[in-house]
């Protein structure tokens, strides 16, 4: 656990201005790879790694798929002439917390590590950029967090969330105690029998609980950051008309590019307090023309993969085709909404493809019929539990640790035949959760073992 505050020489990122609602905020990257990380998330006239020291550049932070997250000013600093004394990049962005958070997330995805409290200042001190008196005030600052010791880690979370995490971790420790007792004591000493099947089930039960938290982390993100919605359907199924109908309601088309090189058209609308970033993609199926069209189709497929929500259009006036089936298969198990378009024309679609579909909303876009229902359905699809007051994970670090725990549990469920490997993965999952809750006392596991089983000769 302590390594995160000790490792040096890596590149860290965090918001360097007080969190809250200032009009502007500064996200700082510091470390040897600062410019390299910035190269991957910044698009502007010049790559940050080629920018001269102490120069300012206008550009945008973009998502992996090329969407603009925010327009920013980027300033480049070269060691030792920066706040920390290391290579640094400072990004001035708009102050909205969700924007700041998305930029930090992007930097983390591009290879930076979220900075620990006081870490910029510590590096500044180590590199001789600030004096001892200043460093000691940092010590006080970090110390203020420390005084509450491990409890702070818990208090940082919402009360309910910490309770939930604690409960999940306890059930995980319980599963672990069962297998560890089985490894550390022989049957005649009272070791509990260990069933691989039951072990796998128990691990997956815990995983489900973590995944539920993670899915709510998505929902929380939607409220703050908006939803990436992609419209997909075969050619001529009425996607573009639908796109316009969705946006026209708000008259809020911010960008519309002709489908020449990038056959993806974007816009945004708001429904029930949630912002939707919509992309209209090239239709699937039909005759595939030249390289430009093929590229458009490829991009459309990529968009569908990275979307938060897919809106599948089925042409109500045509019999179902293989493309429809393919698209429904592709999006099965994802967040999606299905519409049947051209509701004004005679229905020839039939029920066949609808066999896999939960519900399909009939719309007639040119007449604006069904659009209001569709917009509400889209909102419900992403805001499901948001209003119920269930706990929500917000911190990037916490989400990352929860994902690690979930992954370890999935691995655990596959190796139950070998108790010591099963235990290994469960330990990794427990450690990841412990890094959020601040739990992980050394005797905890033995306490759990001895409180549950009558062990020992």
């Amino acid at each position: 656990m302590a390594d995160i505050v000790y490792r040096e020489g890596d590149t860290i990122v965090a918001c360097a201005t007080p969190s809250g609602t200032g009009a502007l905020a500064v996200v700082r990257l510091s470390g040897p790879r600062a410019a390299a990380v910035a190269d991957r998330i910044f698009s502007g006239a010049i790559a940050p790694s080629r920018a001269a020291p102490k120069t300012v550049h206008l550009g945008a932070i973009t998502s992996p798929s090329g969407e603009k997250i925010d327009e920013v000013l980027l300033t480049s600093f070269r060691a030792p002439h920066s706040f920390t004394g290391e290579d640094s990049i400072e990004i001035s962005c708009h102050g909205a917390p969700f924007l700041v958070k998305r930029i930090v997330e992007r930097a983390v995805a591009a290879g930076a590590r979220p900075a620990a409290p006081g870490e910029f200042t510590r590096r500044a001190f180590l590199n001789g950029r600030i004096d001892l008196a200043q460093a000691e005030s940092v010590a006080d600052l970090v110390g203020a967090r420390t005084a509450a010791a491990a409890r702070t880690a818990l208090r940082q979370l919402h009360g309910r969330l910490s309770g939930t995490l604690h409960r999940i971790r306890t059930s995980l420790i319980d599963v672990l105690a069962g297998v560890e007792a089985n490894l550390d004591f022989v049957a005649e000493e009272g070791a509990p029998p260990f069933s691989p099947e039951e072990g796998a089930r128990a691990a997956l039960r815990v995983k489900e609980e973590i995944d539920r938290l993670l899915s709510r982390a998505d929902e929380g993100r939607f409220v703050r950051d908006g939803v990436r919605l992609v419209i997909a359907g075969r050619q001529n199924s009425g996607k573009s008309t639908l796109f316009n109908a969705l946006l026209d309601e708000e008259r809020a088309i911010v960008s519309e590019e002709p489908g020449t090189t990038r056959d993806v058209i974007e816009g945004e609308f708001e429904e029930g307090g949630i912002l939707f970033f919509v992309s209209d993609t090239a239709g699937v199926g039909g005759k595939v023309g030249g390289p430009v069209e093929r590229e458009g189709i490829r991009r459309g497929a990529r968009r569908r993969r990275t979307a938060d929500l897919v809106l599948v259009t089925l042409d109500g006036s045509e019999p179902p085709g293989a493309e429809d089936e393919g698209l429904l298969d592709e999006t099965a198990g994802r967040k999606r909404v299905v519409v049947v378009t051209k509701d004004d024309l005679p229905r020839r679609l039939g029920e066949v493809p609808l066999g896999h579909v939960e519900t399909a909303i009939p719309v007639c876009a040119p007449e604006n019929r069904g659009i209001a229902v569709l917009r509400e359905t889209l909102r419900d699809a992403v805001s499901g539990d948001v209003g119920t007051g269930d706990p929500e994970v917000t911190s990037v670090r916490h989400i990352e640790r929860l994902r690690a725990a979930s992954k370890a549990l999935a691995a655990a469920a596959k190796v139950t035949a070998s108790g010591e490997l099963f235990a290994e993965d469960l330990r990794a999952a427990a450690a990841a959760l412990g890094e959020i809750t601040g739990e992980g006392a050394r005797e905890e596991l033995l306490d759990a073992i001895f409180s549950r089983f009558c062990l020992g000769k």
């Binding site: 505050v5 620990a116 490894l183 550390d184 004591f185 005649e188 010591e420 490997l421 033995l446 000769k457």
Partner: protein
Amino acid sequence: MGKRRTSYDVVVVGGGHAGIEAALAPARLGLSVLLVTFDRRAIGRMSCNPAIGGLAKGHLVREIDALGGEMGLAIDDTGTHFKMLNRSRGPAVHGPRAQADRDAYATRMRGAVERQRRIDVAEDEVLAVAAMGGRVRGVITAARGEIESDAVIVTAGTFLSSRIYVGDKKTAGGRLGETSAEALSASMKKLGFETARLKTGTPPRILGATVDWSRTTEQKPDLPPTPFSFRTERIIRPQVSCWITGTSEATHDVIRKNLHLSPLFAGRIEGVGPRYCPSIEDKVVRFADNPSHHVFLEIEGGRDDLVYPNGLSTSLPREAQQRFLRTIPGLERCEIAVPGYTVEYDFFSTHQIGPSLETRLIERLFLAGQVNGTSGYEEAAAQGLMAGINAARAIRGEPPVILGRAEAYIGVLIDDLVTCVPTEPYRMFTSRAEYRLLLRHDTADIRLAPTGARIGLLPEKVAARAVERDRLADEEVARLEKRLVPPDEANRLITAAGGVPVKEATRLAALLKRPEIRMSAIPAAMVGTPRPPEPVRREAEVRIKYAGYVDRQKRIVERFETMEKRAIPENFDYDVIGGLSREGAEKLKRFRPGRLGIASRIDGVTPADISLVVVYLDRIERTKRKEAPR
């Protein structure tokens, strides 16, 4: 009294499992040693069960052996019932265990000590450790007076101000019928050492002739037995069985009716006992639903023909013990030779020792074994060996040998002690090792034999053999990773084992990675040639099966390496750091960790505390660099 030598390099106080290794190691390294014990016949005496090894403890024995200790060789010579525990589970948690002929084991150990050149044995009592200016000067004994030495190792076991309880009877003594070291404990306190109380118990011993074996279940030993020592070729001693019986409701009734006579339940004992080794009273009370508890009748052998009923540790009055024993199948007519009892004793809070087992208060004074709050012969011997090695090295001006948590269970044991004061007698468990997969018992020689040889306790050729096996195993893994198996052949194996078939030719290593497929199931023709010797094949198979996990653990070890190695100066002043948490500051000052890694494991020290310590360590180094002349 003739002319007796009054000056030695090392004095060892106590002749138990810790004391034996603590005396042998420096003597074998060329130093003169005086071992002081109440009674030389008690050297190597097994106070509790007549067995060595077990889960995690077996690992310790093999590590002791790989470093050149005596315990593995002694049990190989005197073991009468070898069994590899946990065979049905993975190789990392297999645990070698052997019951010993109790008298033969003690005689074997006494012989090793008495025959060892440069060791003198004195039947005497150490009253005090003599120190001057913060450094040890020797010991003061009852009969010989002052004995000078450059180092002293205290391995007094359960004998420090010890009290024995049998029912409502309380006597002084570290084992039933033996004495207690009252003066030593008191004089150590006077020197400034902090002590606390622990307790442990043992079952009654039964006369073998009074047991009806026909009413018990036989448990056969492994044939052939697997030796503990990497230096033993094969076990010669004839093997005997162990016998299993169990308690019944009638037994539990007797115990319940007599609970008020147990000092444990009457609140007469303040010491804390081990949870993993509960008394039968404890088991009956805490797990009232269990209709029966296992009892293992282990043959102690020897002249007295005693039987050790493992599982029946008790401190009820002798008559009550007799009564409940006679409700157990096979023991209906049994006679008690020695009653079970509880012993309560002093140990030294472990914040007072460093990872070399040297005390912080007095230079060249080492503590090892149960005086550090541990339990078990193996835990004691491991510490005795390390204290003996490090005392010798200190005298020679060499740096101490400190094993890491990723290197050995011995490393885990000592690191645990110096970061956390035991609250119950400390026993090793495999779950205490975060790098469990790296610490298999059968790789103890690969991990440690080169160190043992470098120290000078293990013959070079034993270390060379380990290095060679390691190299050959790597080669065999590489060969199996290259060897292709056609799909139909692979699938014959896979489907037989209930796995998912493959479509294309597969590497043999990939096949072995599947948990359901064992090397033994693969036809020789498929494995190909050249085939290395059996131990190498076994090693290669485990390496392949554990590969992903072992790599992950190694990566974690590497990540922490800088932190583990970073030294904190002995005189580091925690008071100048403003922001430390109160508990963190208190613990850091109490334990005075010598390294950052150790500091990070002390309970109550937070990551933020460590971060602050790093800031100040860096500051010290920066100042030093600036001041250093160019």
